[in-house]
């Protein structure tokens, strides 16, 4: 058995290569071309970078949100819902005040609120935050639908979307292609990561927060307000995810419709864990995940086969599994010398 395990890296590599090649042949695509497109579609051109960075922004912010919560021993599965609430508040505030920073603030506050409720329920009624945050995600989607058909609906009353944001309520952009640019939200994200690191490792509050994850009983015994800290942390996590939603509406879509919720909040959990919950590592990890998504999406362009978009999902799954296996194997090799 151990022989198998030790050579696991070898045969998983072979298996993966074989599987990918086989699937590519089925789709009528050459393997080398696919590999090139995978890279080009992620990082190979200004447009690719645009795609990757646009996917990176909400993913990274939500991953930071999940990281913060995890560091206090809490599972924030609700980043998706908090993002939606942040988008709702962002669009409402942006349309009402025509100021982008107010829209962002509104989004953060809405996200805080949406995380505050599960936090309170957890600390004072014992409702597991995993359950509560998942339910809040579904609730957020219902709220989105209702508001887009109701008070947030655009003025002609025909489409299930909001009015477009006026120029002063949009994030500034730096042009990358003829008609698109990366928005300031990306910068904001990258700045927030080291700030989070500083909070968690260089402040007293951060020390306490991290202590909760390790031994809440000890802290409680020493008289620290563990429950209050947890509520604070989860709410703060909600603020980050809510900010992600507000960034999306002010920076990318300049409006709101039902396509705002694409699973970034859930993917962020994987990103946070892959980055071992280090805020600084979250940034490159989120970038890689975003690159993987845009690279695999790009595969659709190389051939006429209609199944390439499903194939993109398969490749995403396989690549992550392969990297995980590789890491495990290399770690094992390291130990065996």
């Amino acid at each position: 058995m151990s022989v198998w395990l030790r050579s696991a890296g070898l045969w998983t590599s072979v298996l993966f290569v074989a599987l990918l090649w086989f699937l590519l042949e089925l789709q009528g695509v050459g393997a080398g071309e696919a590999a090139r497109e995978l890279w080009n579609g992620a990082f190979g051109s200004p447009r690719a970078w645009l795609a990757t960075l646009r996917a990176f922004s909400p993913l990274c912010l939500c991953a930071l949100s999940v990281t913060l919560a995890f560091r206090a021993g809490l599972w924030n599965i609700g980043a998706e819902g908090q993002l939606v609430l942040g988008a709702l508040a962002g669009i409402a505030t942006g349309l009402a005040t025509n100021r982008v920073w107010l829209a962002l603030l509104g989004g953060a506050i809405a996200g805080t609120l949406w995380a505050f409720i599960p936090a309170i329920l957890k600390t004072y009624r014992g409702v597991p935050e995993v359950l509560c945050t998942i339910m809040m995600n579904f609730l957020a989607l219902e709220l989105l639908r209702a508001l887009l058909a109701g008070s947030l609906q655009e003025s002609s009353g025909q489409f299930l979307q909001s009015d477009p944001l006026p120029a002063a309520a949009r994030l500034p952009e730096w042009s990358l292609t003829r008609s698109g640019g990366i928005h300031a939200g990306v910068l904001l994200t990258v700045v927030l990561a080291p700030l989070l690191f500083v909070l968690l490792w260089r402040t007293r509050v951060g020390l306490l927060i991290r202590g909760i994850a390790k031994s809440p009983a000890t802290l409680r015994a020493q008289g620290f307000p563990v429950a209050r800290l947890q509520v604070l942390t989860l709410s703060g996590a909600g603020a980050l995810a809510g900010l992600a939603g507000a960034v999306e509406v002010t920076g990318v879509s300049h409006g709101l419709d039902t396509s705002i919720a694409q699973g970034a909040g859930y993917a962020a959990i994987a990103v946070a864990l892959a980055a071992r919950l280090h805020p600084l590592a979250v940034v490159p990890t989120a970038l890689l995940f975003a690159g993987l998504a845009s690279g695999t999406d790009s595969l659709q362009w190389i051939a006429e086969a209609p199944g390439l978009d499903r194939f993109a999902l398969v490749v995403q799954g396989l690549v992550v599994l392969f990297v995980l296996a590789y890491l495990s194997w290399s770690g094992r090799r390291q130990r065996h010398g």
């Binding site: 089925l26 009624r125 409702v127 597991p128 359950l131 499903r310 194939f311 799954g317 599994l321």
Partner: protein, 294 residues
Amino acid sequence: MDEFTLQILRLSLPLMLAALSETVAERSGTVNLGLEGMMLSGAWTACFIAAGESPGMLIVAWAAASAVGLILGLLLALWTAWWRSDQIVSGWALHFLCLGGTGLLFERFKSSETVTTFSELSGAWSWVPYGATVLFAGLIFLWMFRTRSGLRLQAAGHSPQGLRATGASPAWARTMGLMVAGALAGIAGATLTTVLTGQFVEGMSAGRGFLALSLVLLARWHPAGALVAGLFLGTAFGLELHLSTADQLGDPSPLRELLLRSAPYLATILALAVAGPKRLRAPAALGQPLPSTE
């Protein structure tokens, strides 16, 4: 039995099985984020086998779906129990794999035939899925709480070091747990195409797998609790459907519609909030990779 009750049972069935599957997985210490993907795979497999065939093939379809789920569970076990990769990331990757894989398979093997579902069979046959579910729950209970291998399974989720100290292998226990969980997840998906409807649609599980992840908490990681939790949520959905239809006949209001659609989720939160801060005993080692053997 009136239609409303039947509808509630139908809506509850995949949720009950999915919750049961996740109960087994989490009891052994693994969070199975690939549950939704396993359900989809089971749904496609069952439809592929049983479409256009006689009702006898339904059993074969279920067996095939559970086999596919079992293999996927094995895959996840390999990554998480043996190679100690992160459970969430691995499960997430598996989810994508299944989502894309079922899409590709569906596109490749298109058939215009439909499955003769259990619901369409006459008499006692239409009750087979429900009887089977209760049977599975009973068997799982007996296995987990009355057999040595079941207790080992729980130990793997509670204290893997302790298990290893007794000479047993936590990795094998978790593998066993994931295999059973995978098989159940496959069957949960199979009910979508053999009980609820007779055709496969891409993405038809529509988030049920993720709902089940939260249902396990409601179920307190107990097989019977899984059935109750699934039934609870199924009832909530059925009621919502029933009430919103009645609403339509009267004077529909968007606020009422929002409240009705949110009701199942609010009800689940309330159910636990009302129960109070009783200590919810999750398996102690849930989500944690097994300790190194070196």
